[in-house]
Symmetry: C2
Subunit: 306 residues, 2 copies
C-alpha cells in the first residue's frame, strides 16, 4: 500500500476572499457542507480578519456557530494573522487556527501590514495564550512566499530555515510551506524540502505544502513532495483563489486534479471523487461569478472519468 494523503480544502477561504459580492452565510454553509459530503477531512472556512479588510468574512462567527450545529468543529480551520484574529477565532469555538506570515519581509508588510519579526512575536504570544488555555485549540503556521516572492524573487534557504526554527521553537509542530505565487518547481521543492527535513526532526515537525498552479507546475510539485514523504496538501475546489485579474489564470491547485492524480495512482485521499465533482458543480452554481477554470471546464464537459 502506498502512503495515504490528506487534502485540506482551502476554497471557502481562498476562493471567497476574491469575490467582491457578499456570499450569504447559509450559502457558505451549503458550500462547506458539499465538501464534507465529498469526504474532505479538513476545510479552511475563512479568515478572522477585520471586516474592513475582507468584508466577505464579516460573518465568520455566525458561520462557525451554524457549522457547529451540524458538524464536529474538528473538521474546520480558519486563518489568522494577528492576536485580535486569534482571540476572535478562539472565542468562536473553532478548533484549528492557521497563523499566516511570510518569509519575505516585503510580502509580509504588503499582506499583513507588519514586519516579519512582529508577526513572529504575535505568533509567540498567541501560542503562549493557547498553551495556557489547555490547548483544546490547535495552531499551525502557514509560511508564505517560501518558493518565491513577487518582489524578492527566490528566497534563500537560510531564511526559510530561520522562519521554521522561530516557529518550531514556540512548540508549533505543524508548518505549511506555501508557494504563494506559484513559482515553485520540482527541483526547488526538492532543495527546500531536503534542507527542511534535514534540519528539523521528522515526523515531529510535520511539514505540509500549499501550491498555486500559476504556471501549471503544481501537480508535478505535489508529486515530488509526496515522493519525499509529504502527505498533506492544500487545494481549492475548481482551482479557485488565483489572481482575479487574469481570466483563466490558475489559482490554487484544483482539488479535483489533486484527488484525481492520487486516486489514479492508487493513493487513497479518502475523498469520493464523484461526490467531489458534484460539489464542484454545486460551487459553480452558487458562485457563477468566479472564472471558469480548466478544472471546472473538465467537470462541466464531463472530461473527468468518475
Amino acid at each position: 500500500m502506498l502512503p495515504e494523503v490528506k487534502i485540506a480544502e482551502v476554497g471557502p477561504r481562498d476562493a471567497l476572499q476574491n469575490i467582491p459580492t457578499f456570499v450569504p452565510t447559509h450559502d457558505k454553509f451549503a458550500l462547506i457542507a458539499s465538501l464534507i459530503e465529498a469526504g474532505l477531512a479538513e476545510i479552511q472556512i475563512g479568515s478572522f480578519v477585520s471586516p474592513r479588510a475582507i468584508p466577505q468574512f464579516a460573518d465568520i462567527e455566525a458561520l462557525v456557530a451554524l457549522l457547529k450545529r451540524s458538524f464536529p468543529l474538528d473538521l474546520f480551520c480558519a486563518l489568522v494573522a494577528n492576536e485580535r484574529g486569534a482571540a476572535d477565532a478562539l472565542a468562536s469555538g473553532i478548533r484549528n487556527i492557521v497563523f499566516v506570515f511570510s518569509v519575505s519581509e516585503q510580502h509580509n508588510l504588503e499582506n499583513v501590514h507588519k514586519e516579519r519579526a512582529a508577526s513572529l512575536a504575535a505568533l509567540a504570544r498567541i501560542t503562549e495564550q493557547l498553551q495556557k488555555g489547555g490547548a483544546k485549540t490547535k495552531i499551525r503556521a502557514d509560511i508564505a512566499t517560501v518558493f518565491g516572492c513577487p518582489w524578492r524573487g527566490e528566497i534563500p534557504i537560510t531564511e526559510i530555515l530561520h522562519c521554521l526554527e522561530q516557529t518550531a521553537k514556540l512548540g508549533i509542530t505543524e508548518i505549511t510551506l506555501c508557494d504563494t505565487i506559484g513559482r515553485a518547481n520540482p527541483r526547488l521543492v526538492e532543495e527546500v524540502l531536503t534542507a527542511c527535513q534535514r534540519e528539523f526532526p521528522q515526523p515531529q515537525i510535520k511539514l505540509r505544502l500549499h501550491f498555486h498552479n500559476t504556471y501549471g507546475l503544481a501537480l508535478a510539485n505535489i508529486l515530488k513532495a509526496y515522493e519525499m514523504g509529504i502527505d498533506s496538501f492544500d487545494a481549492a475546489l475548481g482551482g479557485r483563489g488565483g489572481c482575479p485579474f487574469i481570466p483563466d489564470a490558475p489559482g490554487n491547485i484544483a482539488t479535483e486534479d489533486v484527488v484525481f492524480m492520487f486516486e489514479e495512482m492508487g493513493v487513497s485521499t479518502a475523498v469520493d471523487f464523484s461526490k467531489l465533482l458534484a460539489a464542484s458543480r454545486f460551487w459553480h452554481k452558487i458562485l457563477p461569478q468566479t472564472p471558469l477554470t480548466t478544472a471546472l471546464c473538465k467537470v462541466n464537459s464531463k472530461t473527468y472519468k468518475e
Copy 2:
C-alpha cells in the same frame, strides 16, 4: 549539471489535423519557421496520409519542398501509418519517419483501419525497404494507447512489451510510448517504464514519451519519466491537439509548460522561452479558430515569467 531534455514539437501535425479549414502551405511554413526560431530541434510537420482522410495534409509534399529550401530536413519528421505513406514520405526527401500503430487492437482498427498485426507487418516491410535504401531516412515507432485505450481501458504490460519486442526486432531503436488519451498517471508511468527498461537494453533502445494533458497529469508524468532517465518528450504549442469538441479541454501537453518546467528546474531544453512565447502568439494569430487553452491564456495574459 542535470541531464538535458529534447522537446519534439508535434503541433504542426497534431494541432493542424484537428482544424477543418485548410491552412495554406505558406502559413504552415511560417508556423514551422517560428518553432525553429525558438530552438525546437525536432518538428513533426504532418502526416503522409490520403488527402481524403485528412485534407489538411494534402500539401505535405509541397510543404517539405518549401522547407527544404530554407532548413536542413533533419529538423523534421512526419507521421505515416502504412507503406503508401512511407513511400510518399521517402519520395519527398523527409529524413525522419514516425510510424504509428496502437497497442490496443480496437484503437488500431479505428485509427488506421487495420489489425495491429497488419500494422506491424507493414512496419516490417517499410523498415526492410529503408534498410535496403541505405538508411538515409530514419524511422521510429510511435506506439499509441500504451497508457490506456478509450475502449479497452488499461493495457496489460505484457501486451506493451510484446509490441516493443515486435518493433525492436525489426532494428528500430527509437520508440515512443504514447498516452493517446491522457490516462497515464505517475504510478503507471513508473510501472510501464520499469518493465520496458528492464526488458530492453538502455540506451540501445531509446524510449521517448508522448503525453496528453486531458486530466492535467501530463507534467507530473513527464517529471516521473525524466527522473527515470527519459530525455525526449513530445509536446504541442499551446497545448493544442486535444478533443476539438470540448472547449478548453487540454490536448497534448503544451510545449510552453514543458519548457517552462524544465528550464525552471535548471534542465536545459535548448529552447529560447521568450522566442517560444513569440511563436505561441504568432500561432494564435494565424490559427485564431483553435480553442484558447490554459497555456495560451497564460501567454496572452503575460502570466509566464520570461
